[in-house]
Symmetry: C2
Subunit: 389 residues, 2 copies
């Protein structure tokens, strides 16, 4: 299959590109290197020593014999080059990771709010408009959404895969059953853009019959996949900083350098998780099982386990002896919430999840401890606040 991976230099995009290439697909990576540039802005580096794109691709050719093409395009800014690529390469599938993906980064300042909104929404709209303009409506778009579109649910209702069955009372007093897009309740500007993306997918799907799969992903943990582990130059990025480091990876880093595990608030927030290896397999499964033309947007919850943050800290603490510290929560959110999430689609397609308890130890020894001399301790705390204090 001919596949374009937008954002193929990032934490999820890079291992996805390799995984799809390894399966024999013809992969083109599109990226504007924004994630590396944001590292410069934030004055951080990933814990793992990632190689430049050309070195990555040479290493991949060396170990796999396969070619991946790389094109540097800012798809939010340069519509015409994206359009030309779609017209000429004629991908059967486009995997869309090309959005600013950190909630704390999106809340740092007005500039960061505005960048996230403009970049993410224009990127998505440009992609959809280009597919229509190129008359390639059969192209399957796989988008990385987020569990965060559902917001912090505490209703006692399991989160469905995208669509919620509700009953509406008609004026005659009848009950009318309707299936609606799950009401959005985003917790940050970043999450908000993903709820706005959903409305674009819905529109282009209805109006232009585009085939779209939206994967609402939980928090990704882990670093390496089978393919990124094949050569030192293929290593995936591991972020531990307060903006881009997700909660579990930050705990692992903290444990590795004898820094207390910093739990925001009571740690009663429940979160959904998935290992990076499962992420790339999920995208493969989504690519191999596209919706039909005319089918509504397919929404799949891409997560395997739910943990409360304090329980996660306890798991890491029990494994490593690290202390747990509670700090002020920078986010505006409920201190405690339950979370139950349907993830039947991926299990039905054959995903066999990697569980946290089985993968954590190697993550600590192979990544967090091994590269701990590269850690800048001052970058660990979250310094983005959701509101003025």
């Amino acid at each position: 299959m001919k596949i374009v991976v937008l954002g193929g230099d990032g934490f999820c995009g890079w291992p996805t590109s390799l995984h799809l290439s390894n399966l024999g697909h013809d992969v083109v990576i599109v990226d504007n290197l924004s994630r590396r540039n944001i590292d410069n802005e934030l004055e951080v580096s990933p814990l793992t020593p990632i190689s430049p794109m050309s070195v990555r691709l040479e290493a991949w050719k060396r170990v796999s014999g396969r070619d991946i093409r790389f094109v540097n395009i800012d798809i939010a800014e340069n519509y015409h080059r994206l359009l030309t690529l779609i017209k000429e390469f004629k991908p059967e599938c486009v995997v869309h990771f090309a959005e600013q993906r950190a909630a704390p980064y999106s809340m740092k300042s007005s500039w960061h709010k505005r960048y996230t909104v403009s970049n993410n929404l224009n990127a998505t709209n440009n992609l959809l408009a280009a597919i229509v303009e190129a008359e390639r409506i059969e192209t399957h778009v796989i988008h990385l959404g987020t569990m965060g579109v559902y917001g912090y649910n505490d209703s006692g209702v399991q989160i469905p895969e995208g669509y919620l069955e509700v009953y509406v009372r008609t004026d005659d007093g009848d009950e009318l059953k309707q299936e609606i897009l799950y009401p959005a309740n985003p917790g940050s500007i970043y999450h908000m853009t993903k709820t706005q993306d959903q409305l674009m997918f819905g529109f282009y799907n209805r109006n232009d019959k585009l085939r779209i799969t939206d994967l609402h992903q939980g928090i990704v943990w882990g670093t390496q996949t089978a393919e990124t582990a094949m050569d030192g130059d293929l290593i995936n990025r591991f972020d531990y900083d307060g903006d881009y480091g997700t909660v579990l990876n930050r705990f692992l880093m903290q444990a590795a350098i004898d820094y207390p595990l910093t739990v925001h608030g009571t740690g009663g927030q429940s979160r959904a998780f998935i290992h990076i290896q499962d992420t790339v397999r999920c995208i493969q499964l989504a690519a191999e099982n596209p919706p039909q033309t005319g089918e509504r947007v397919r929404i799949i919850n891409q997560m395997t386990e739910v943990y409360r943050v304090r329980d996660l800290a306890k798991v890491v603490s029990d494994l490593t002896g690290a202390e747990v510290h509670h700090v002020d929560n920078p986010r505006n959110e409920a201190p405690e919430n339950e979370l139950r999430v349907a993830n039947d689609s991926l299990l039905r397609l054959g995903l066999e999840p990697i569980t946290l308890k089985n993968g954590l130890l190697s993550e600590i020894s192979d990544i967090a401890k091994r590269y701990s001399d590269r850690c800048n301790r001052s970058k660990i705390p979250c310094v983005s606040y959701w509101s003025k204090r």
Copy 2:
């Protein structure tokens, strides 16, 4: 009250600015003249001979003795100037009309889709981010939304004012009552941006406690208000072209020049309407009755009557003797739909609607007939299509 009107040179923004100024408010108009520039692009002129902004403002000073300040800012592009204005002028209220507002225009080409998305979403986000950055969270934002956020409803349920009561079955089999934002079903890229705006309003309202009123307006008809009729140089724009001319104004124009009334499809589409004079009074009522800080986004349906398009054509035909022609519908929509809409809020605040049957004749004689020599007949048909044919 100090009021900024964003988009104060447009069809609704201009009469709103005059109305608020006439009531004694201190009004600043912000506009980038995009609507006049789009006239250049489409090679059309409004039927009515509108004056340049400086001439408009001199005329207003002459007849009312009042000053309105005008600032030319593209608020989607020039965040910093908007921020400075909010910091220095310290408006108590900002009325936000600064969005591309024609559904056919938004569907003309990829460029028009992309312009509408980028302009509308960045404008709204820039405004909200600027209010937060300026630490002016008490500023009341009044946004012109659209009835089109609800989509073409045919469920037998009256369209509520923004929020819909639904019942969800919990896993225990209980029924849980929830009030949700009415599920969005936009019919064009333009309407889609207004559904995306709603998600921004919800987020900034929850996270930053912004005070927001979102007015979901029906199709506006009529041209003049009490204030725009006070001097020839104050005349409001009247658009009859296939992109910006709304259905009733196009019928009036067609009747005035003996052009058949062009009904799209069966004309069974029901639409909500409001007269421009009522629009400006509604905005006054909204400005005088702001939500409290901490109150959720207040959503008001700004419409007074519902007509099917074919019935509207009949009303105009009966008044004028014009023929009715049915032409292909360029839109992707249901051929027939019912529409019942709650509009209690504005009636409760004291609006006394101008009905179509009372206002139409003067509109035909004072505007459509009077300026009919300015009409370019080739611009009447809608030439934007929702999908490739």
